[in-house]
């Protein structure tokens, strides 16, 4: 049933609007992880929720058409990559594994944390969307 496109333009438009709004909210959550409520998980999951809403509203085929498997894979890989960069960055900067305050950037803890959060958000979003697509029997992300 979720894979069947809905005919009603009202539904389609509404879900697009809602999805846009949710996606914005997701990004907001994602970027404000260090200063207020939110972070990578929350942002990532909400972003994925936007895609899911879209899929329920406009149909799975049309949703997945927008989703490039390559991009999804890139998203999934982003989190571990961000972690590894920061982790080994800490070592290269003379600190220890995954040490933030030695990184040669301004406000290292804050920005490095933001960076990692972005990676987490990307991975979570990518994974949840992939899972949703695969479980609903849609096109796989290979």
């Amino acid at each position: 049933m979720t894979t069947r496109p809905t005919d009603s333009p009202v539904v389609t438009v509404t879900t697009r609007l809602v999805a846009m709004f949710v996606l914005t909210f997701a990004l907001f959550t994602l970027f404000h992880g260090t200063s207020s409520v939110g972070g990578g998980f929350q942002g990532g999951v909400i972003a994925a929720a936007a895609v899911i809403i879209l899929a329920f509203g406009v149909g799975m085929e049309r949703t997945t058409a927008w989703l490039s498997p390559r991009w999804l894979l890139a998203l999934v890989v982003a989190g571990p990559l961000a972690f590894v960069l920061v982790a080994f960055g800490g070592i290269l900067a003379g600190g220890s594994f995954l040490q933030f305050d030695v990184l040669p950037i301004p406000k290292p803890s804050v920005y490095a944390t933001e960076f990692v959060e972005l990676g987490i958000g990307a991975t979570v979003a990518g994974v949840v969307v992939s899972l949703f697509v695969r479980l609903s029997g849609g096109v796989d992300n290979e």
Binding site: L73, V77, S96, F97, L98, Q99, E142
Partner: protein
């Protein structure tokens, strides 16, 4: 140096991404995975070398104060299990795994990462995270088996395994509420300060022990194991049989003595009795259930229930000899069982021999296999001079030293339980008269049906040789480990003494 411990986890974890990004190039994926596994062995060797030279190493991720950050630690015992994980993973990957898929390769690495993480972490919550990584990878690996039963077995495994992990998590919660810390060293100190007989501490121990008991597959929490191991592919069942329960058992040892300490077992006799009873019940139930199995891999899985019962009994005894015995048994059982699952799995895959009856008269077609299997089985039974005997000897020594006569009788008598099922298998292999060529070779006068066509003869001979040589190597290892068990015990000694 501190980065070494982090690398042991990070390398396979990040490496697990590589098979995903190479796309459909299966060979490349296999090559990369193999490479990472080799690197992992190197890392484990490095850790062992450092430990040998300087004693235990520890570090805190992120260069934080130890009580704040997540600690990693490696001592003599840790390094032995790290080596076990790394070596087993690469050996079975190279020898037993034939049809790699990139997702499977990735899961393989994730399992290694999770188990290595469980081994080196010094933080009880961090342990949960790695327990879940290894768990998820294991469930999925089981489901890579062909056919419906594999999916169902994996699903049941997932349900039970997740319940176990969640119970463990809840135990961690109780510990945290009682102490306000999650680091093992911090907990060790805090628990003795607040008193071991606090209900929260006892509750946490029960939950953690039951949670890990699921992964260890103690009776009656073993239900996931036989089906999962009997339906998964040869390589997977070998890997899981070697590592999953073993590392959980190691975690139980580590937590019992590193966190709760002997003081807890002394102040709360019920906890010790609980461990002893749980172990004893597993020994007996495992022994009895093993006798009733017809499928060879289910039989092996049930035999693990018996073996881990002994290990838990040894933990409950909590004497230096018994704990040494538990560690030796963990290692020896892992190697023996892994080798058996691998070779038996290869035979099941290539020749469709799956039940004990299928092994009738195997010696004619596969004499080396039969002899090697007998040696490995002897280790499971605990006959000298194998490693299994050494482990049992230490445990029995501990039981006698503690004057726990019932337990001593159980440990010594468990040999008889094992002999019954092992004897049946060996006798079938050696003296049974097959109705047809067992492996579809050599024909038969009665014109019975062979299991496979003779077309793939060459390939089949190869895989039989492979299975036989693997098992022979494992047999050599269990005997060598038995003959060097004193050195192994000496290697563990400082750690065990530190615990007790």
């Amino acid at each position: 140096m501190s980065v070494l411990l982090a690398l042991v986890v990070t390398v396979p974890l990040v490496g697990a991404v590589l098979p995903l990004v190479v796309g459909r190039r299966t060979r490349l994926s296999r090559l990369l995975t193999g490479g990472i596994l080799v690197v992992q062995v190197g890392l484990a060797v490095a850790v062992a070398a450092v430990v040998a030279r300087r004693g235990p190493v520890s570090s805190v991720v992120g260069g934080l104060p130890s009580e704040v950050g997540i600690g990693l630690v490696a001592d003599a015992v840790t390094s032995a299990f790290l080596l076990l994980v790394a070596c087993t993973a690469v050996a079975f990957f190279a020898i037993v795994r034939t049809d790699s898929t990139r997702f499977g390769d990735s899961l393989w690495l994730l399992l290694v990462a999770g188990l290595s993480g469980v081994t080196v972490t010094a933080d009880v919550f961090n342990l949960y995270v790695f327990l879940e990584i290894s768990g998820l990878a294991a469930y999925a690996l089981v489901a890579t088996g062909r056919g419906a039963p594999a999916a169902l077995a994996a699903f049941r495994y997932l349900l039970v395994g997740t319940v176990g992990a969640t119970l463990y998590l809840l135990g961690v919660g109780y510990l945290y509420v009682a102490t306000g810390t999650l680091s093992m060293a911090g907990l060790n100190a805090a628990l003795s300060a607040i008193g071991y007989d606090s209900p929260l501490v006892i509750a946490s121990f029960v939950l953690i022990a039951v949670g890990l008991g699921v992964k260890i597959a103690l009776f009656p929490l073993h239900t996931w194991k036989p089906a999962a191991y009997a339906t998964s592919p040869a390589d997977v069942s070998a890997l899981l049989a070697t590592l999953v329960s073993t590392i959980a058992g190691y975690a139980l040892v580590r937590l019992t003595f590193g966190v709760y300490t002997l003081g807890f077992l002394t102040d709360v006799p019920a906890a010790r009795v609980g461990l002893l009873v749980a172990g004893a019940v597993s020994v007996v139930a495992g022994g009895v259930l093993t006798l009733r199995q017809t499928d060879i891999r289910r039989l092996l899985a049930y035999s693990s229930v018996l073996q881990f019962g002994l290990i838990v009994v040894a933990i409950g005894l909590a004497t230096p000899a018994a704990v040494t015995g538990a560690l030796v048994l963990l290692l020896s059982h892992a190697i023996a069982k892994g080798g058996l699952f691998a070779s038996v799995g290869i035979l099941a895959r290539e020749f469709d021999v799956k039940t004990v009856a299928d092994y009738t008269g195997l010696v004619r077609d596969a004499p080396l296999f039969t002899v090697a299997a007998s040696v490995v089985f002897a280790s499971l039974v605990g006959l000298p001079p194998t490693a299994g005997f050494a482990g049992k000897w230490y445990v029995a020594l501990g039981a006698v030293a503690a004057e726990s006569w019932t337990i001593a009788a159980l440990v010594v008598g468990s040999t008889l339980l094992s002999i019954l099922y092992v004897g049946r298998v060996v006798e079938t292999m050696v003296f049974g008269t097959p109705t047809a060529g067992v492996l579809g070779r050599g024909g038969s006068e009665t014109g019975g049906q062979s299991h496979v066509s003779t077309d793939g003869g060459q390939l089949h001979t190869q895989s039989l040789t492979r299975a036989s040589l693997l098992l022979a190597a494992v047999g050599g290892v269990v005997v060598a480990l038995g003959l060097w068990s004193s050195d192994l015990a000496l290697w563990f000694q400082p750690v065990v003494e530190g615990w007790l």
